[in-house]
C-alpha cells in the first residue's frame, strides 16, 4: 500500500515500509476483533428478541436470554 502517510505533530510524513507492515498486521487483528464484537452484538440482539417473545408467551428462558434482561 504505497503512498500512505500520517500527520505527525502537524507535518505530513510518508509511512516507512516498516510502519506500513505494522499497520497491516494491526488491521488484520483489528478485523478479527471487530467481527467478534459484531457477532456478539448480533447474538445479544437475537437473545433479547427471543427473551421478549418467550416472556410474552409465558415460556421459560435460556440463561443467555435471561442475561439480556436481568441486571
Amino acid at each position: 500500500m504505497a503512498g500512505q502517510f500520517k500527520m505527525l505533530n502537524g507535518v505530513r510524513v510518508e509511512l516507512t515500509d516498516a510502519e506500513e507492515a505494522t499497520r497491516t498486521t494491526y488491521l488484520e487483528q483489528y478485523a478479527i476483533e471487530k467481527q467478534a464484537r459484531v457477532d456478539a452484538a448480533a447474538q445479544k440482539a437475537t437473545n433479547k428478541a427471543s427473551a421478549k417473545a418467550k416472556l410474552i408467551a409465558g415460556e421459560s428462558l435460556t440463561e443467555a436470554e435471561a442475561d439480556t434482561i436481568v441486571l
Binding site: 500512505q4 502517510f5 500520517k6 500527520m7 505527525l8 505533530n9 502537524g10 505530513r12 509511512l15 505494522t22 499497520r23 498486521t25 494491526y26 488491521l27 487483528q29 483489528y30 478485523a31 476483533e33 471487530k34 464484537r37 452484538a41
Partner: protein, 193 residues
C-alpha cells in the same frame, strides 16, 4: 490606557511582559488538519505538562461505519499489538438504541461507541484526555467523550474510558481508522502549578 506599556502587556518578553499562566489551565500546543491520512499522531508530550487533551472535530472516515481507534506510545513507538489496552464506551447507535461495549484486553482503544461515517453532513467530534502521562507507576488512564452525527439525523453520543496497562511514561497518541482519517485535531497540555 494606551501607549508603549499597554502595547507590551501581552508580550512574553521585554520590559513589560505578560504574567505567567496560572496552573490548572489548558494550554494550546498545536493544531493540525488531516485529509485522508493513515493516522494523526502527536508525540510532543513535554514534561512541562501533566495531562494532555486532544480535541477533534469534523472528523470523517474513509469508509462508512468505521470505528475510530487510538494507540499510545511509551518510548519505543506506538503499541498496536498485545492485550494491554482496556476500554469501555456507552452510547447510542444509528438505530437509536442505547448500549455499551468494551474490552478487557485488546490491541487498541475505541474512543466512540458507534461507528462513524462519511455521508452527507456526517462527522465526529469530541475530546480525549490523557492523565498523568509522565507517571512511571500508574497505568495510563484515558477519558473519552464525543459524538457522531448521522446523515439520517440520528445523534450518536458516546462517553467512555480506557487504559493501557503499562507503568511507563506515555509520550504519544495516534488516532486513526482502518481506512483513513480527515478532520481537525488540537493538542492541549495542562500543568498543575
Amino acid at each position: 490606557m494606551s501607549g508603549i506599556i499597554t502595547d507590551n502587556l501581552g508580550r512574553g518578553t521585554g520590559l513589560v511582559k505578560a504574567a505567567a499562566a496560572a496552573g490548572g489551565a489548558w494550554t494550546l500546543i498545536t493544531t493540525t488538519t488531516a485529509s485522508s491520512a493513515s493516522t494523526v499522531d502527536f508525540t510532543t508530550f513535554s514534561s512541562d505538562y501533566t495531562d494532555f487533551m486532544v480535541i477533534y472535530s469534523g472528523v470523517v472516515s474513509g469508509g462508512d461505519g468505521e470505528d475510530p481507534f487510538m494507540h499510545l506510545s511509551f518510548g519505543s513507538g506506538f503499541v498496536t499489538s498485545g492485550s494491554a489496552y482496556l476500554y469501555g464506551n456507552m452510547g447510542r447507535d444509528s438505530g437509536n438504541s442505547d448500549d455499551g461495549h468494551g474490552s478487557s484486553g485488546t490491541t487498541k482503544i475505541l474512543f466512540l461507541y458507534a461507528g462513524t461515517g462519511n455521508g452527507t453532513g456526517e462527522s465526529a467530534c469530541g475530546q480525549i484526555i490523557l492523565f498523568d502521562v509522565h507517571s512511571t507507576s500508574l497505568y495510563q488512564n484515558v477519558l473519552l467523550c464525543g459524538m457522531h452525527s448521522e446523515s439520517s439525523g440520528v445523534l450518536q453520543p458516546s462517553s467512555g474510558a480506557g487504559i493501557h496497562k503499562n507503568q511507563a511514561a506515555c509520550d504519544g497518541i495516534s488516532i486513526g481508522y482502518s481506512t483513513n482519517i480527515s478532520g481537525k485535531f488540537t493538542l492541549y497540555g495542562r500543568k498543575l502549578t
